[in-house]
């Protein structure tokens, strides 16, 4: 590259060193690298979708009743005669909805985790820091205490949880927002406060529950994907789909916000709008997920982290890959939960906590993180 002479006379009188004496150096491999970036996106996404499909088939095969490959194949392809085929019932009526729910819930937790980490500029944040989950848990507990658990065809519990989550979203937002802005440290603090108050109220509610309801609350709190209803599946799936589209639209803005809010604003990011959008999308999705599956911890923290180590911080890739990764983790964890002590089950929240806890400790000990939002 040739250095052009300065087009205008410099206004400095006799500059100490001619600036153009510094040669311009250019990196030649850049264009190909950029082409590689876009191609890499498609390659990684293709690979992730392929692995996800593989994981679904893998999870379909395992369970309390072991299936042979032949049985699995014939049930998947509907090639056996008769509707009463056991394998077909097990796979399509029992396992498939549950696996699908695992995919939706895992994907929702991971994508909201990734988005929130960028928003509060802390790579250790998790969907539960916003206080929505404990609101939902409180809603579910109150619902059970009032005997609303089995109304609306068994949807009473998720509905109560969703209402509880919604109330806590409004509370957290109301506490944190000031003058049309949503300061992140205030958001975190509001989440902590709502969490604490809801936990206290929930302890009070559980203390007056009857033993049968108490057992249901405790099981639900541990997190389970058992026997999801069709409306729950459709509801969670559509929430997730809308959330993915909305979050992907803000993915480059999230990149900029993750690096610094002032810089992002000076680059034209409407930070107030992006923060509001991401908060509301994450909050509603978390509320929906918690209401159908209870508290499943660590997926939202661990998965975005792993993906960031493997694929970098670009949220255009990080968000969708995290979603698929979270789905895979939860599907597999749930398969382990319903297989290892069959015919009994371990709550899937226990498995994710057992994976996530040590991983969290490992991260704390090997990497230096600042704990300031």
């Amino acid at each position: 590259m040739t250095v052009h002479p300065p087009p205008s006379q410099t206004t400095l009188s006799d500059p100490p060193m001619m600036a153009s004496s510094v040669p311009l150096r250019k990196y030649e491999g850049l264009a190909s690298w950029q082409a590689l970036r876009a191609r890499r996106w498609y390659a990684v996404m293709g690979l992730m979708i392929f692995v996800t499909c593989g994981a679904i088939v893998f999870c379909l095969q395992f369970g309390a009743h072991a299936l042979t490959m032949a049985e699995l194949w014939s049930a998947l392809t509907f090639s056996t005669a008769g509707n009463e085929d056991v394998a077909r019932v097990i796979i399509w009526d029992i396992r498939f909805p549950r696996i699908l729910m695992g995919l939706f819930v895992g994907a929702s937790l991971a994508i909201t985790g990734a988005a929130l980490q960028a928003l509060v500029r802390n790579p250790l944040a998790d969907p539960y820091v916003l206080g929505i989950s404990s609101g939902a848990a409180l809603g579910a507990t109150i619902g059970l205490a009032l005997g609303l658990g089995s109304i609306v065809g068994g949807l009473g519990l998720p509905l109560c949880a969703f209402i509880g989550g919604g109330v806590s979203i409004v509370l957290v937002y109301g506490i944190a927002a000031s003058q049309g802005r949503l300061p992140m440290h205030q958001l975190l603090l509001a989440g902590v406060i709502v969490n604490a108050v809801c936990s206290a109220l929930m302890m009070f509610a559980t203390s007056i529950l009857n033993p049968a309801s108490l057992y249901r609350v405790v099981l639900w709190l541990m997190g389970t994907l058992n026997a999801p209803s069709m409306p729950a599946l459709i509801g969670t799936g559509s929430c997730l789909l809308i959330a993915i589209v909305l979050l992907l639209r803000e993915s480059q803005a999230l990149n900029l916000l993750a690096v610094g809010e002032d810089a992002a604003r000076s680059l034209g990011v409407d930070s107030d709008r992006v923060q509001r959008t991401v908060f509301l999308v994450s909050a509603v999705l978390t509320g929906a997920v918690v209401s159908v599956s209870g508290m499943i911890g660590f997926v939202g923290m661990v998965i975005p982290h792993l993906v960031r180590i493997l694929c970098g911080s670009d949220h255009r890739l990080l968000l969708p890959v995290s979603a698929l990764g979270g789905g895979i983790l939860l599907m597999v964890a749930d398969t382990v939960a319903r297989t290892v002590v069959a015919p009994a089950e371990i709550p899937v929240g226990v498995i994710t906590a057992l994976i996530g806890g040590p991983f969290f400790i490992y991260l704390l000990m090997t990497r230096k993180y600042r704990f300031i939002a």
């Binding site: 087009p7 150096r25 480059q252 034209g268």
Partner: protein, 299 residues
Amino acid sequence: MSPQALVSTVDTPLPALEVRQLSFRYGSVQSHPPGDRAAWVIKGMEFTVRQGEIVGVIGPNGSGKSSLLKLLAKLVRPQAGTIRLFGAELGALSRESISRQVAYMPQDLSSDFPFSVLDMVLMGRFPYRHGGVWNLVGWERREDLTVAEEAMAQTDVGHLANRMVDTLSAGERQRVLLARALAQVPRVLMLDEPTAHLDLNHQLEVCRILQRVHEQLQMTVLLVSHDINLASQYCDRILVMKQGAVVCIGPPQDVIHPRVLTEVYGCQVLVDAHPDTGLPRVSLPGQDRHQTVAVSGML
């Protein structure tokens, strides 16, 4: 490819920045009583920055230098007064249109999120992004890459394109931030302490790059600095601030004067000529001299 890719094409005879009666304070109006003058970070500032000049802003800690820069980049809104950017009222301009004209370079980059240098520089193309149904995530186009490449060449970070930003030295990081600012193709470049935390060699490097950018791209540069000598060497004019107000503004030869500096900083300083350029150079008095000066000041 020529550096022309980075030159903004709009040309007007209007001043780059025109500040009138600018006043600003943090927090809401209710949190301070009306008569509380100390609460104002900026009070009644007036000055003009012409197109294509380098203006340095100096002043003691807490004099409102960084706040002024944030006001000029519309990162915060003033309580009173007007700022005109090439004749247009800043308050009426959208964030996007400002970000195509003004690049603001923050003091330092600190992030727990690893990005590559190329990713970081391409962020400077955000004001020019193209969304749409088929580009939901907003991938950059070929033009964006051309500009980023040119910006990286200007600040000499092209060879670092694939490196992660958190593995760079402070000087390299500063040059990456500068490349990101240039990728915005701004008409005004605002820098907050571009040479803070840098050793001498890196300071010189950043300054040379700034000067090259200023000459080749005809950019208006506004920089906040603690380093009076650096401002004196590289700036066309210097704005001296104290307690949120303009003390004086003018060429280094006029402004860098012992009387002005003593008044602003509250301590004795010596000013002589730089051996190469003859521009004013500031030093703190030696211990003996300090006492003599203090005594003669009392007499």
